[in-house]
């Protein structure tokens, strides 16, 4: 079974780390990640940019593009896509296409700050 681990933390707090503090945390995480990678158990790892960089597409008719993260609590996170886009316009376009295929709910569009593709699973 594949498991997705979704990372939650206070972005103000993490954002206040100095470059050195940030690097120290990333180095500690890298040890755990390498261990998993050696066992062929690590897939992609991504670090998202802060929620201030987020845009949300509300899948209605017509779909509504809203600045900021997805703020509702009455819906649940059901899945995610990683899409390579030239800019936010393209990303919004992809979200619209997906939304037309599966109406209802919303897509939060968050630029990815750091991405490690990971290896194939054993």
């Amino acid at each position: 079974m594949l498991y997705a681990l979704l990372c939650y933390h206070d972005e103000d707090f993490v954002g206040s780390w100095s470059k050195e503090q940030d690097a120290a945390v990333m180095a500690k995480l890298a040890v755990v990640q390498e261990n998993l990678a050696k066992q062929g158990r690590l897939g992609p790892v991504a670090r998202l940019l802060p929620t201030t960089a987020a845009t949300t597409l509300r899948k209605g008719d017509p779909p509504l593009v809203i600045d900021g993260p997805y703020a509702e609590t009455k819906e649940q996170l059901l899945g995610f896509y990683l899409v390579d886009c030239k800019n936010l316009d393209e990303a919004v376009e992809v979200a619209r296409e997906l939304g037309a295929a599966n109406p209802g709910g919303a897509y939060e569009i968050r630029p990815v700050g750091m991405f490690a593709p990971g290896g194939a699973f054993k």
């Binding site: 103000d12 707090f13 940019l49 201030t52 960089a53 593009v65 600045d67 936010l88 630029p111 700050g113």
Partner: protein, 420 residues
């Protein structure tokens, strides 16, 4: 992380909202700050045992408010004549507490708190000091250090600023749309001032003052979270991030400023650049341009050039042209001239800045640019005169040192030229 580090972090991030709400109840900055201080002390006692409350800001507002009301009642008992005015105000506050704690108005509380710091009668230095003390919660000692003044001098500066703010009538009603956007722009300008206090420092003070730039970025992000649909606030945050991303590359080992084209670009902070680019990308979708967005777009073009010669100077020239329209200033034109010299040559740039001579006759940077352009055009004697004038106008030893380097180059080139 130590046991209490998470409490400090929670208090810092809850502070603007909590002090903003307390200010609304008590309509007095000192009372609001004291109430927050009291609540923080109680948090330090209670949170380690009971764990963090679900809504730290709400907890601090409630506890701070009760503590301050207790204090006021105690004081009142000691006074022979109770102040009826103060009482009725507090009763109002109590009735409305439930409505206020739901958080629906807290963005106006925070905006108001920031806005009173940018009172037009306060000089820029006082605005910044007040905001760092009241909104960011830095200690007087920390702020004094950043401004390279004594604790006593900073204490006095903040006290004066508070006295002025107290005299001014602070608007407490919920602002309308126009007023809100005016406040937002005033606050944005103040945040940019805070940033520049850190960014414009050089030499030894650069390290000491860098936290000011970081605090400005934190405030810009806070503002953006409160007003996520404002393209100029996105632009402001992007501008600060893109400029700050270069900080590790901006000074050499002895603290001399390194010009953009000479910087080691591998030292630029890529995550910060990525965030800045994402924000400007987001802002441009609104098609409501403004000075921060344009400046951020210029910074973005620099950030995207892996090597100086890859810089899109033509686009930068156009963006400065747009900035001249929305924010006309000889300094903007001067900056544009630098882009023009790269895109269209030194003569075109020189033609552009000559009309500015009268208005910028005491501006260091004008003569620095003029000298560099004249040098490129092999007009060495005129270049030397311009550089000499620049040195006379330099605001710091760093600026003077930079022009001396140009003069050395001039002597070399000039000698080589006459040798032919």
């Amino acid at each position: 992380m130590t046991d209490t580090a998470w409490i400090d972090a929670a208090l810092t991030s809850a502070r603007p909202q909590a002090v903003g709400a307390l200010l609304r109840y008590f309509r007095d900055l000192d009372t609001a700050e004291e109430a927050f201080q009291n609540a923080s002390l109680r948090a330090l006692k209670s949170w380690p045992q009971n764990g963090p409350p679900r809504d730290p800001a709400g907890w601090l507002i409630m506890v701070g408010r009760n503590a301050a009301i207790d204090d006021l009642r105690r004081t009142r008992r000691q006074e022979p004549l109770p102040e009826d005015d103060a009482m009725s105000d507090l009763d109002d506050a109590e009735e409305q507490i439930a409505e206020r704690l739901d958080g629906s108005h807290y963005r106006d509380d925070i905006l108001r708190l920031l806005f009173i710091c940018c009172h037009p009668e306060l000089p820029a230095t006082q605005q910044i000091a007040l905001a760092l003390r009241v909104v960011s919660g830095l200690t007087v000692k920390q702020i004094a250090r950043a401004f390279l003044v004594s604790d006593a001098a900073m204490e006095q500066r903040i006290t004066r600023a508070k006295a002025r703010v107290a005299q001014a009538s602070v608007p407490f009603e919920t602002p309308g749309a126009v007023e809100r956007s005016e406040r937002l722009l005033a606050v944005a300008a103040m945040i940019y001032l805070i940033f520049n206090e850190g960014y414009s420092a050089s030499g030894e003070s650069a390290d000491i003052r860098r936290p000011l730039s970081e605090e400005a970025i934190r405030l810009a992000r806070l503002l953006l979270r409160l007003f996520p649909g404002e393209p100029e606030i996105m632009g402001l945050a992007a501008l600060l991030l893109l400029q700050h991303a270069r900080s590790a590359a901006r000074f050499d080992a002895v603290g001399v400023l390194i010009l953009l084209e000479d910087q080691d670009r591998s030292l630029w902070n890529q995550p910060m650049i990525a965030e800045g680019l994402a924000l400007i990308d987001k802002a441009m979708r609104h098609h409501r341009s403004g000075p921060y967005q344009i400046q951020a777009a210029i910074a973005a073009l620099h950030a995207q050039a892996a090597r100086p010669e890859q810089t899109d100077w033509t686009q930068i020239d156009l963006l400065y042209g747009a900035l001249e329209v929305v924010q006309p200033s000889p300094v903007v034109t001067l900056n544009r001239a630098v882009a023009v010299s790269k895109a269209r040559g030194a003569q075109a740039a020189l033609d552009m800045i000559e009309p500015l001579a009268a208005r910028l006759s005491n501006y260091f940077y004008f003569f620095g640019v003029r000298g560099a352009l004249l040098m490129q055009l092999d007009r060495f004697e005129e270049a030397r005169i311009a550089f000499d004038r620049a040195i006379a106008l330099a605001n710091s030893s760093t600026e003077a040192a930079h022009i001396r380097m140009q003069l050395d180059r001039l002597k070399r080139d000039g000698a080589a030229n006459t040798g032919h």
